[in-house]
């Protein structure tokens, strides 16, 4: 059943190509939505099928051998399956939300064209079994998500789009140089837990390799909003339409995380980096980003921009967990990948509904909004609680594992500093998310209350919002649904 992997990569791309041909025939918004919806669901189903067939044996597929050392290969291991399923689920949920949201936007055909392409490209990235394939799909992801940022084609959008492009490509190029170095020090280039380097080739060039691994972390970390290269994220995410912001924050940032895992744990090997300056610098950068992102979000008044800063902070929780190189912390990081995707997508979808229905774009314009759109704001509140990490909501679980991992890791003072920074950041998170709910329910003139539900989102948008909020809560109460699977992955990452 190995052909399922290339199928799940190329099916959305081929469908997008067909869309390009028949786009003149699709007249109404409904027809576009039906086409996209079907493609979306089938692609998601293909990814599920890959996962289902992977339970018996690992699927792999060689697409093309370019030279002796460079080839495009796919393989479905636990990590790629986790990301692929998460991506499929999010794209379907956000897709349904967008059918309502995009009704009032121009250029929807372009939006959905790239939406479909992205599904295939992201699958390709997740299933990549070597660094060159990963790099190829990583670059394609940048290029194909760019139109989503540029969508409105206003001056700000173009500026933001360019910022996004240059940061991402710049970061990817730093990583490409690292890939060249890693390739020169190995003979077999397929990802393997613990790394695939040839010790005889590394011998004597350890420092060189460390420098380039660090560059790769910075380069791929750019997509994840890691400190020195985070500046594009709060500019580019808010300018996109709400569904696109949700996916950029929830899914695209996580591909930077995946790329870092692939380089550190599957190419170079954690043993090589453990205890070196790379690990500590990485940890420090991640902690700086955690604190800085929360602080900036706390000071920011624009609703979507606040959420974007929050993404900067939260994705670095994941990077901090990965930098500890400890199975428990990795489990926490993987859990946080999933939980943060769900929560941040929900927050962005609600903020999209608020902006769309009431026109409010600033956090201090939200007085009394809880009475106008109660279901959305309750979902927002639930997600906020989950992101802050109040038990029993989901964020608590992941942060618990992260803190436990930090305390049991032998990283000296960092095993205490880390949890403290996480705690401070959680307080700040409460500080920037809860006022939305407080203003929404308790402030404002009472005459607004005459028409409850007056600005509530349409059912098609509301259902995804509620589903995501419910998931954020349920996965917190019953984390056993996924922790078993993720423990297996964490164990396989760090043999």
């Amino acid at each position: 059943m190995s052909f399922l992997i290339p199928l799940s990569v190329f099916f959305p791309l081929v469908c997008a190509g067909l869309f390009l041909i028949v786009r003149k025939k699709l007249q109404t918004h409904k027809e576009i939505c039906v086409y996209t919806g079907v493609v979306m669901c089938v692609s998601a189903l293909l990814n599920v099928l890959v996962a289902a067939f992977s339970t018996t044996r690992e699927l792999s597929f060689v697409l093309i051998r370019i030279t002796d050392s460079v080839s495009l290969t796919f393989r479905a291991d636990g990590l790629s399956l986790m990301f692929a399923i998460l991506m499929s689920f999010m794209f379907v949920i956000v897709g349904f939300y967008s059918f309502d949201y995009m009704k009032h936007e121009d250029n929807t055909k372009r939006f959905y064209l790239f939406y479909m392409c992205l599904m295939g490209i992201l699958s390709g990235m997740y299933y990549s079994a070597d660094l060159v394939s990963l790099y190829l799909f990583y670059e394609m992801m940048t290029l194909f998500s760019l139109p989503l940022v540029l969508h409105s084609l206003t001056k700000e959008a173009i500026k933001a789009g360019f910022k996004y492009l240059f940061y991402s490509i710049g970061g990817a190029l730093l990583s490409l140089m690292a890939i060249f170095v890693i390739y020169s020090m190995s003979t077999n280039h397929e990802f393997a837990a613990g790394g695939f380097l040839d010790p005889s080739l590394v011998n004597g060039k350890e420092n060189l390799l460390l420098v380039f691994v660090f560059l790769a972390i910075i380069g791929f970390g750019c997509k994840a909003g890691l400190f020195p290269m985070h500046d594009w994220l709060p500019v580019a995410h808010p300018i996109a339409p709400a569904p696109a912001s949700a996916l950029l924050s929830g899914i695209i940032t996580k591909s930077g995380v995946l790329a870092i895992i692939r380089v550190v744990y599957f190419s170079v090997g954690a043993d090589f980096i453990k205890g070196t300056w790379v690990q500590y610098t990485w940890m420090v950068l991640a902690l700086i980003t955690v604190f800085m992102g929360s602080m900036l979000a706390f000071c920011e008044n624009g609703l979507k921009k606040r959420l974007a800063f929050s993404t900067v902070s939260q994705v670095s929780y994941v990077l901090f967990g990965l930098s500890l190189m400890n199975p428990v912390a990795i489990l926490g990081a993987l859990l946080h990948v999933i939980f943060h995707s769900i929560i941040k997508d929900d927050l962005f979808l609600v903020s999209g509904a608020i902006i769309h229905n009431t026109g409010a774009v600033k956090c201090d314009e939200l007085n009394g909004i809880g009475r106008k759109m109660p279901a959305s704001i309750i979902s927002f509140t639930l997600s906020s609680i989950a992101l802050i990490g109040i038990p029993p909501a989901s964020g608590f679980i992941s942060k618990w594992f992260l803190a436990e991992g930090a305390l049991t890791s032998d990283t000296g003072a960092f095993s205490y500093i880390g949890p403290v920074v996480l705690l401070i950041s959680a307080l700040l998170t409460a500080g920037y998310l809860l006022p939305v709910m407080i203003d929404g329910f308790f402030k404002g003139n009472s005459e607004d209350a005459k028409e409850p539900f007056s600005d509530e989102a349409k059912p098609l948008s509301l259902v995804p919002i509620i589903i995501l909020a419910a998931l954020a809560l349920i996965l917190g109460i019953f984390p056993g649904i996924i922790t078993g699977f993720l423990e297996g992955i964490a164990g396989s990452i760090l043999p």
Binding site: I66, T108, E139
Partner: protein, 531 residues
């Protein structure tokens, strides 16, 4: 002797004879003669390369039955074969696709002369590639310069003449330096044939005599050839020459003419001076540093210039920097990477100039901001332009990625050069992204996609400050907008031929990017038997 060994001689002579016959012919007949000659050259080169690759050898061919000290010689190996294929492909596709440009840009009475110049250019390049005699090399450098001037000047405007004169002056300085180097070398060694010089130089180097002279000779010849190929400090003739001339001229000048000199330089390194002697003179460091500077400065200039063809021309400066950097790495892998990049860049840059013609629509040049929405109007050209841009940026699956990978890999064994090379590749690539993606987003971002709504009139577009280039236009007293001297549109046939040529080049580029094994194997093998 096999009959096939005559092929290099045949291909040079066929181009020469075609050049001689075209000036008596009418415009149409001249076009067919030139295309036929180039096509035959292409076939001969392919057959020759296949034969050489199969037998794995190289041969020296004596011209006119005069033995060594007096006669001329031709040398053909796999490297020469590949270069011959490469130049004839680019020349052929350029003039085939450039029919519209030639028809509208050149006086009716002079059009047959354009084909003459093209054939002469191809003949001189083939001679440069095949020659085994350093003085013959010099003679054909001069012929090449004259043909190059003709390619620029044939468009009879004041600015074209000015560009051609500038090209001529700079080129003559370059070939003058090369001639001085040749004379010195002759007086030191007493030979003109490459392998004889090589043997004498090896003796001299072993003796330790004429050390300074050898260094001077190497430096003079290298500098002369780098001036002619437009390496960084000597690149100022490039933008005018490439951006003002008619499209096939730009495609040929950027794609293959400057590359012929680089190949001659490689020949000089391996077959005349000898790699070890060349390395001991320290000229490699010079080439390396100039190459790095070109990579960065060319891209910066491309970003600053706001016009499409001018930008593409400056991008050539940066790509030539890559090639020289590859040579300057000073090992075999670096030279293989450099030759690979010669081919990659030639294919890509001629494709860029070819497609730029559709966008400029008869004008001499076009501002990058005016590309808005043209991607929907010219889908084939825009797609080919995008492919070429991705290749230059170094996107996997395109030839440019392989070239960059070979360059980076070659530098790994070379100490400090590695850090500089990798850093420069990264910086230059980011700069490439800046100016090419500005074009691509302008091409596709605006207007026409949803069919219903055409927003090409919107005020927003991605424009840039173009101080440098607009001042250049001011200085010559002519504005680009005033230059739309032709109102004719390309006919249907011209358009489809142009599209097919662009697609062929893009497909070759993709093929090299997906299956580079054959080319790298030929280049590596060819270089091993080069000395």
């Amino acid at each position: 002797m096999d009959f096939i060994m005559n092929f290099p001689f045949f291909s040079i002579m066929i181009c020469m004879l075609a050049a001689l016959s075209t000036f008596m012919l009418g415009r149409k007949a001249a076009a067919w003669v030139a295309k036929g000659a180039l096509f035959i050259t292409l076939i001969l080169s392919i057959v020759l390369t296949a034969w050489l690759h199969a037998s794995g050898e190289s041969f020296v061919y004596m011209m006119g039955h005069f033995p060594a000290p007096w006669g001329n010689e031709i040398r053909a190996g796999e490297l020469e074969g590949v270069m011959a294929i490469f130049t004839s492909v680019i020349a052929l596709l350029s003039i085939v696709s450039g029919r519209f440009s030639i028809r509208t840009g050149i006086d009716d009475t002079k059009q047959n002369l354009y084909y003459l110049i093209t054939c002469l250019m191809e003949a001189s390049l083939l001679a440069l590639i095949y020659t085994n005699d350093i003085f013959t090399g010099y003679v054909f450098i001069e012929i090449n310069t004259i043909a190059g001037c003709g390619l620029i000047m044939i468009k009879n405007t004041g600015r074209a003449v000015a560009a051609a004169v500038r090209y001529m002056v700079v080129s003559l300085v370059g070939s003058g330096l090369f001639l001085i180097g040749t004379t010195l070398l002759y007086s030191v060694t007493g030979h003109l044939l490459m392998q004889n010089i090589n043997a004498s130089v090896a003796c001299l180097a072993a003796d330790g005599s004429y050390k300074v002279t050898l260094t001077v000779i190497t430096a003079l010849m290298t500098v002369g050839l780098s001036i002619k190929s437009g390496l960084f400090p000597f690149h100022l003739w490039i933008p005018d020459a490439y951006a003002i001339s008619v499209m096939p001229s730009s495609a040929m000048l950027s794609g293959m003419v400057s590359k012929g000199y680089i190949f001659l330089l490689i020949k000089l390194i391996y077959r005349v001076i000898g790699f070890d002697v060349f390395e001991s003179t320290g000229v490699f460091d010079l080439i390396f540093i100039a190459g790095i500077a070109a990579m960065i400065m060319g891209s910066v200039a491309a970003i600053r210039s706001g016009y499409l063809r001018r930008m593409t021309a400056y991008s050539s400066v940066s790509q030539i920097g890559y090639i020289f950097m590859g040579i300057g790495i000073a090992n075999n892998a670096g030279v293989v990477a450099a030759i690979f990049h010669i081919i990659t860049h030639g294919l890509t840059k001629s494709l860029l100039f070819m497609t730029a013609e559709s966008f400029t629509a008869g004008k001499e040049d076009i501002e990058v901001g005016d590309l808005k929405g043209l991607g929907h109007k010219h889908p084939v050209s825009a797609a080919a332009f995008t492919a070429a841009a991705l290749s230059i940026v170094g996107f996997p699956l395109f030839a440019g990625f392989i070239a960059k990978m070979l360059l980076a890999n070659a530098s790994f064994t070379e100490g400090w050069r590695m850090y500089v090379a990798i850093g420069a590749i990264a910086v230059s690539t980011i700069l490439n992204v800046v100016y090419f993606f500005r074009c691509i987003i302008n091409l596709y971002g605006f207007g026409g996609f949803d069919g219903a709504k055409d927003d090409s009139d919107t005020e927003t577009s991605i424009t840039v400050q173009s101080e440098e280039s607009s001042s250049a236009y001011h200085r010559n007293g002519v504005y680009v907008s005033a230059q739309s001297d032709c109102d004719a549109a390309p006919t249907r046939c011209e358009k489809s031929v142009h599209g097919i040529c662009a697609i062929i080049l893009a497909v070759i580029n993709l093929y090299i990017g997906v299956a580079p094994k054959l080319l790298t194997a030929i280049l590596t093998k060819g270089l091993n038997v080069f000395n």
